[in-house]
Amino acid sequence: MALRGVWQLKKLVVSYSDWGGSSKGIRAFMESHLPAFKEANPQLEVDTEMIRGQHPHLKALYKNHNDRVVCVKNMDPEEILLHATRLRNSLGRKVIKLRTRHVTKHPSVQGTWTTALKYQDEQNQVL
């Protein structure tokens, strides 16, 4: 998730509850994998937030002011790490079906082909 070398994920908010059973995985994640994740991504701002009475989630804020929320209730710490890595790896693009797999601003180098185009040999003979 880096557009021309610039990381796109600005902030990751890890929301959990200290009482609920659905937050068990994320609490374990915060102890085991979160410090390593923070060190591997120094450009990223990681916050932890306690929300009581709600299921845990990961909130990602991107540079294009998009945000993505992933609910991590009842997940293992490894799965939560996978989701966090996925959020870090993606641009803040809206998740819609791709139109083309090749995005370019200069589609033609040698000139766009038309029916009127005639090819010429090196000796300037028309092929």
Binding site: R86, R93, K97, H106, V109
Partner: protein, 296 residues
């Protein structure tokens, strides 16, 4: 009662069942390839014959699953050779070996000799999702797909140049793209690279610019296309819905494809028209011409 003349007299031909061939081999240790005239089985046997020196018996190990099923038919005592004692002893041995081969057969494919030898050495069960790759395996697989990881992008690298009028047709996996400087490409998830990694795509099929076109047969050997990994993301969800009407059958499945976005930074191997440099030498040439007549 042995009805076929060939079975009676121990002649080996194309129609001889494979088990018979095994028995013949047991009796006289010989190179196995010459005995089999069936071309498809020849192919599979050639892979097997040279590897695996662990098993001491002279029997070849079949990569095809056909031999196992062929054995299934021939367990009936009616089909054994003339010497019944021979058969009873051999049957026990071959039974055990079939069972072993059955397990190992499932793991082996005809395709990669490399994988075959690795499985042999490690004896790993098949769970491809958590396979640990060594560095060489990674490189080998990566080059097979068509790219090479160079390393992470450093801060000081000025990789993102302005547009140059040159293009290349590059193949990644099974997809081909016509790329130019500054384009972005979505490919299937490339396994061995992280975000912000530099890659070199080495399967280049065609290079072109305003002045020159180079056609590869099938690839251009000294060409390289540099790219940077921008993103590893999931595509939008597609719902696969199956229904058979009036049959009470309905299935819904969701699928998100894993994609990698690459930004092409440089194309090497073509003549690129250099406009700026062309102007300067012409200016200096003019000055020299002016000086020369003065001195003369």
């Amino acid at each position: 009662m042995i009805f076929r003349m060939k079975d009676r007299f121990g002649l080996l031909t194309m129609h001889t069942p494979i088990r018979r061939c095994l028995q013949a081999l047991n009796r006289e240790p010989q190179p196995t390839l010459s005995l089999f005239k069936d071309p498809s089985s020849l192919r599979s046997f050639s892979v097997a014959a040279f590897s695996n020196h662990n098993i001491s018996s002279p029997l070849p190990i079949f990569t095809n699953s056909k031999p196992a099923s062929a054995f299934g038919k021939w367990h009936d005592p009616r089909y054994f050779s003339t010497s019944k004692q021979d058969d009873h002893t051999k049957k026990a041995d071959i039974h055990e070996e079939i069972e072993d081969e059955d397990d190992s057969d499932d793991n082996y494919d005809d395709e990669d000799e490399e994988d075959y030898e690795d499985d042999d050495d490690e004896c790993v069960s098949v769970s491809s999702s958590k396979k640990v790759y060594t560095a060489e395996e990674k490189e080998a697989e990566a080059t097979a797909i068509g790219y090479k990881v160079v390393g992470p992008l450093q801060k000081d690298d000025q990789v993102f140049k302005p547009y140059e009028p040159a293009f290349a047709v590059v193949q990644i996996g099974s997809h081909q793209f016509k790329v130019s400087n500054g384009d972005s490409i979505f490919t299937e998830r490339l396994k061995f690279c992280e975000v912000n990694d530099k890659l070199i795509l080495n399967k280049v099929l065609l290079l072109g610019s305003a002045s020159q076109t180079i056609i590869g047969r099938p690839i251009v050997p000294d060409a390289a296309v540099h790219a940077v990994v921008e993103e590893h993301a999931l595509d939008a969800k597609v719902i696969i819905f199956k229904k058979k009407r009036r049959k009470n059958y309905r299935r819904t499945k969701g699928h998100r494809q894993e994609l990698t976005k690459l930004r092409i930074t440089d194309i090497e191997g073509v003549e690129k028209p250099q406009i700026e440099l062309a102007e300067k030498p012409s200016e200096s040439a003019k000055k020299e011409q002016e000086k020369v007549p003065l001195s003369a």
